[in-house]
């Protein structure tokens, strides 16, 4: 019996079981921690205990430094869509609807989700790595020893800047996306800019814009909170920083995909 137990504990099945239980445990621990940190961050925000200077610094980082990559991704995504559909639609005599389709796609989905992915890769990963490095080099412990709450000092300015800057980034990226779509449609199918932009207005509803901006606010806050929390919980040395960064990126991707699904179900179903 003892030999069997020993043999079983060395088996691949048991190792898989251990891995699975560890992953499940880690999933619920992280989820609980993100929820708790969200509550802590918003309690400071509702009390207006916000360092405006730090918010300004983080906003520059969140908005300005992420803009080139965000514009490239959203712009290219719109160009690709236009290249795929414009030629065919013009052939079918639906050229007047190309602008409408591209705009609807960008405002409802592409603009905000692609900006979210770009911001996660550019900013979320760097937030997680920065805070994880502070954790493993005991800077966060030093902060606590000096009786300064790391949530207030590190999380709040980053989350507030995410909430403020994400919608602005999405607006700029969406405009660039529509312009890119117009150029691509013109090159691929010879559709005039006038025909494209005239149909844009048919695809642009106030509800779409409102939902798009609401999504941007939620995505901005989610990316900042998830990234900061994953960084904050880093353990060990350089390896721990790497694990925390990867975890932040994966969790942020999944989180905004879930939010996107919830928004689509709530407003367009």
């Amino acid at each position: 019996m003892r030999n069997f137990r020993l043999y079983f504990k060395q088996s691949a099945t048991y190792q898989l079981y251990l891995l699975f239980t560890r992953q499940v445990n880690d999933f619920f621990t992280t989820l609980g921690d993100i929820t708790k940190k969200t509550a802590d961050v918003f309690s400071y925000i509702f009390k207006f205990e916000i360092d405006r200077k730090a918010v300004l610094e983080q906003s520059a980082r969140f908005g300005v430094s992420s803009l080139p990559i965000t514009l490239s991704i959203v712009g290219m995504s719109a160009i690709i869509v236009s290249m795929q559909v414009a030629g065919e639609m013009v052939k079918q005599g639906a050229g007047n609807y190309v602008g409408q389709l591209v705009t609807m796609l960008i405002v409802r989905e592409d603009g905000v989700i692609m900006s979210g992915f770009a911001i996660i890769s550019m900013i979320g990963s760097s937030l997680a790595a920065e805070i994880a490095t502070m954790r493993v080099t005991e800077q966060i412990d030093a902060m606590k020893a000096l009786k300064v709450d790391p949530i207030k000092y590190l999380f709040v300015p980053r989350v507030v800047s995410g909430i403020i800057m994400m919608p602005l980034v999405v607006i700029v990226a969406s405009v660039v996306g529509v312009l890119g779509g117009a150029v691509a449609s013109s090159i691929v199918s010879g559709l005039s800019y006038r025909a494209f932009f005239e149909s844009v207005w048919y695809g642009l509803y106030m509800k779409d814009i409102q939902v798009c901006l609401a999504k941007a606010v939620v995505f901005g806050a989610t990316i900042a909170i998830v990234s900061c929390t994953c960084g904050y919980n880093a353990k060990g040395g350089a390896k721990g920083v790497g694990i925390a960064t990867t975890k932040a990126v994966v969790w942020s991707f999944v989180a905004i995909a879930i939010w996107d699904l919830l928004f689509a179900a709530a407003f367009f179903f």
């Binding site: 080099t137 005991e138 800077q139 412990d141 030093a142 606590k144 020893a145 000096l146 009786k147």
Partner: protein, 240 residues
Amino acid sequence: MSITVKNLVKIFDNKKVIDDVSFSVKDGEVLAVVGFSGSGKSTILKLICNLINLDRGEIETSLGDVAMVFQYSALFDSLNVFDNIAFALKERKEFRKKFNQEQLEQIVAQKLKLVGLEGIERKFPSELSGGMQKRVSFARAIVTEPKTILYDEPTSGLDPISSTLIEDYIVRVKEETQAASIVVTHQMSTIQRTADKVIMLYQGQIVFKGTPKEMLSSSNDYARQFVSASLDGPMQMLAE
């Protein structure tokens, strides 16, 4: 009594890292905590500083701040020396209202003078040597005039001269602030130059208590092994 620790227990992963530890440190007194790596020395400091929660026991400290000097300095690398030292004064409500920029500059200059590093306010931690970083972390720790100061291996990784300098600062800070201090160290020179009393930990328990002088001449097997740096004795590295 400035620091009183009673029957402290800390458990990590079902293992008692600190097992029924009790001691006290008076104002203006330095206690050295020695022992093998992994014997629970730094954990005691983190418990006193409230960085981790205790499982059982009591910790009482005098009213006022508990400051901690970290093993690897733990300076905020995105802030310069001035902002590092003034950090608590700028970020904590009770100090923010009390001091203006000019006063902050005076306080920081005064603390830097105490650790012999005048005029480096605008430098970043990455521009400083290990010894200088340690001294800046000293200045940062004492900026709120704490009543309790904890030093986690303050001389590790430093050359002998820098170590002596740091040991002198510990004594100087003790004399000037009359704070109760705990120094976690492996080095006999640090114990002899700074400490009024010593406790030795092994596997989370206190195995020796006394003065540095008593430790040197003690017949206690643990103390003898530590002082002589011998491989033979009750403390086995492999057991860790």
